[in-house]
């Protein structure tokens, strides 16, 4: 009598374990899909934020569509210069916009400077969210239990938008191009 009861109990226990295993597999597979979808959606959000930055600046600076390419070309250089401070009317960005749009006033520039900072922060936060989702996804793929269920899945590479200077620094590990006091600044 002893053996059949034991066998049936073992069968029941194995069934329970099998059910838990199946449910865990299903749950981790779903999480993997959710993270991949969230990353795709976040990439679109980043693109939207980037696009919005240009639109906001164009509107605030009162620029025309034909000036878009010219603005985009100088934008990175302008952004790296000081665009705020006590001598704001001397800032390269203010001067550049003033050349394109003579009606551009200092009050409008102040508003634009706030918009630039706000959009930069929004963009940074959107990128951080993508990095964070990628981190959670990588954790899911590598953690002891979930990693067992998802061992055949690949991590998704998170591409972060950075300036070419930052990219070079990250690749070489050298950042000796610091010119805080503008000693090497070109004459404008």
């Amino acid at each position: 009598m002893k053996r059949p009861v034991l066998i049936w109990t073992i069968v029941a226990v194995i069934t329970v374990i099998g059910f838990i295993y199946f449910m865990m597999n299903l749950s981790y597979e779903k999480k993997d899909v959710d993270y991949r979808e969230a990353m795709t959606a976040q990439k679109k959000t980043i693109a939207n934020v980037k696009d919005k930055i240009w639109k906001v600046l164009k509107q605030k600076a009162g620029l025309l569509d034909k000036q878009e390419n010219a603005f985009k070309a100088v934008f990175v250089d302008l952004m790296s210069e000081r665009y705020e401070g006590e001598d704001q009317d001397q800032s390269p960005m203010f001067k550049w916009i003033k050349e394109q749009n003579p009606d551009f006033k200092m009050e409008m520039y102040m508003d634009m400077a706030a918009a630039i900072e706000a959009n930069q922060e929004e963009f940074m936060e959107a990128q951080n969210r993508l990095i964070d989702i990628g981190r959670e996804h990588a954790k899911l793929l590598r953690a002891p239990v979930s990693g067992h269920f998802l061992k055949d899945k690949d991590t998704v590479e998170v591409v972060v938008v950075v300036s070419s200077h930052t990219k070079k620094v990250m690749e070489t590990g050298i950042d000796d191009d610091v010119d805080l006091f503008g000693s090497n600044k070109k004459e404008k």
Binding site: M1, V5, L6, T9, M110, A114, A118, R129, E136, V145
Partner: protein
């Protein structure tokens, strides 16, 4: 990880079936698994919810103070003195009594909540608002006819009576290694940069909180409290002002780290003051409306330090015009998985083991025996 605890009752069932096949019946086997399983799930929920629990503060203001006068009423009642054998009353007597209702005071705010008030608070409101409306309650009183006096807010900004109340929310960031989380700030940095501890609203009381740190100017404190009180109901915002004296802007960066960017509905303006001038301004907030933050920073930098009340007004106005929204923590960070801590897992294992052992002992030593044994008797040797 915590789900590995499920193996403990499962292993126990196999051992029990092997060692005591006649002493443990099917129901007991199910109990051996079910009770520890419930304990594991409860432990997981408690561990994750305590890690993610955080508090935010909602502002509102009193719109009506009410004074309920003392009154009494006569309660007619008959009581039974003795019963017959079948439980019916055979002898009644009059046990009527006078029930006293003491005076009490309440305050109602603009988000529909009612709070207990004191006589002094009611009198202050009635005097300040110049309002004390009598309302006859038409009570069926005994000897004291108590009625009601209502004082209604006169809609003068300076006569606002603010209330701050604590509410809980789920903050997964604080329980994760998220890039949005912040490294702790050490005590040396706290001292060096004069960082502020988060105010204990509970100790201040719901009517006496102070959202300003670094200045004791009563006018500034009151103006910010009044703005918070009026805007809290619409935008759920809690604005604060921190003034740093002779500190670099790094103080604000560290303050953000120290407070982990504040609670989800907060808008904290940090001002750096030196030599009677504002040197820098930084807003700490989780809001997605970054434009409000930058506009406030920019405008505050150009304002006069001696007129902090004007800065507070400007901040409130920008928050209103920019239509502040608080961070939707649960939606925006729902991708973060919060696991029970290792300590919680170990404790759950110990508790599961103890519960399993206790149930196994009960199953072995109780009067119930295996009811399926006979079905298998024909297979036994």
């Amino acid at each position: 990880m915590i789900y590995l605890c499920f193996l403990i009752p499962l292993i126990a069932i196999i051992i029990m079936s092997w060692k005591f096949p006649r002493r443990v019946n099917i129901t007991e086997r199910i109990i051996i698994f079910a009770v520890p399983a419930i304990a594991i799930i409860v432990a997981k929920v408690i561990s994750t919810s305590t890690q993610t629990h955080d508090t935010e503060y909602w502002n509102s203001h009193v719109i009506k103070s009410t004074y309920y006068e003392r009154w009494n009423e006569w309660i007619e009642k008959r009581c039974c003195a003795s019963y017959d054998a079948s439980g019916n009353c055979t002898n009644w007597y009059d046990c009527s009594y006078c029930e006293e209702h003491p005076a009490y005071w309440t305050a109602s705010d603009n988000i529909g909540k009612t709070y207990s008030y004191t006589k002094a608070q009611f009198e202050r409101d009635a005097k300040m608002w110049n309002s004390r409306k009598f309302k006859d309650m038409n009570r069926d009183y005994h000897t004291v006819d108590g009625d009601v006096y209502v004082a209604t807010y006169d809609k003068v900004f300076e006569h606002t009576v603010p209330i701050v109340k604590q509410y809980g929310y789920k903050n997964k960031i604080q329980a994760s290694k998220s890039v949005f989380n912040f490294e702790p700030v050490d005590t040396a940095q706290i001292r060096k940069y004069g960082l502020y501890r988060y105010p204990y609203y509970e100790l201040m009381g719901i009517f006496n909180y102070n959202p300003v740190m670094g200045t004791v100017d009563k006018d500034v404190v009151n103006r910010l409290r009044w703005h918070n009180a009026h805007m809290g109901a619409v935008w759920k915002v809690n604005m604060m002002l921190l003034v740093f004296h002779n500190q670099p802007v790094r103080a604000a960066v560290l303050q953000e780290r120290y407070w982990k960017r504040g609670n989800k509905n907060e808008f904290i303006l940090c001002l750096g003051h030196s030599g009677g001038k504002i040197k820098w301004a930084k807003v700490i907030s989780w809001t997605d409306k970054k434009m409000i933050m930058k506009t406030v920073e920019q405008k505050a930098r150009r304002m006069d330090y001696k007129n902090l009340a004007a800065i507070v007004d400007m901040m409130a106005n920008e928050v209103k015009v920019g239509q502040f929204t608080y961070k939707k923590f649960e939606e925006d960070f729902n991708y973060i998985r919060v696991e029970p801590t290792m300590k919680a897992v170990i404790w759950t294992m110990v508790i599961t083991f103890v519960i399993t052992v206790i149930i196994c002992l009960i199953a072995v030593f109780n009067q119930f025996e295996c009811d399926i044994g006979n079905k298998f008797s024909r297979f036994s040797r």
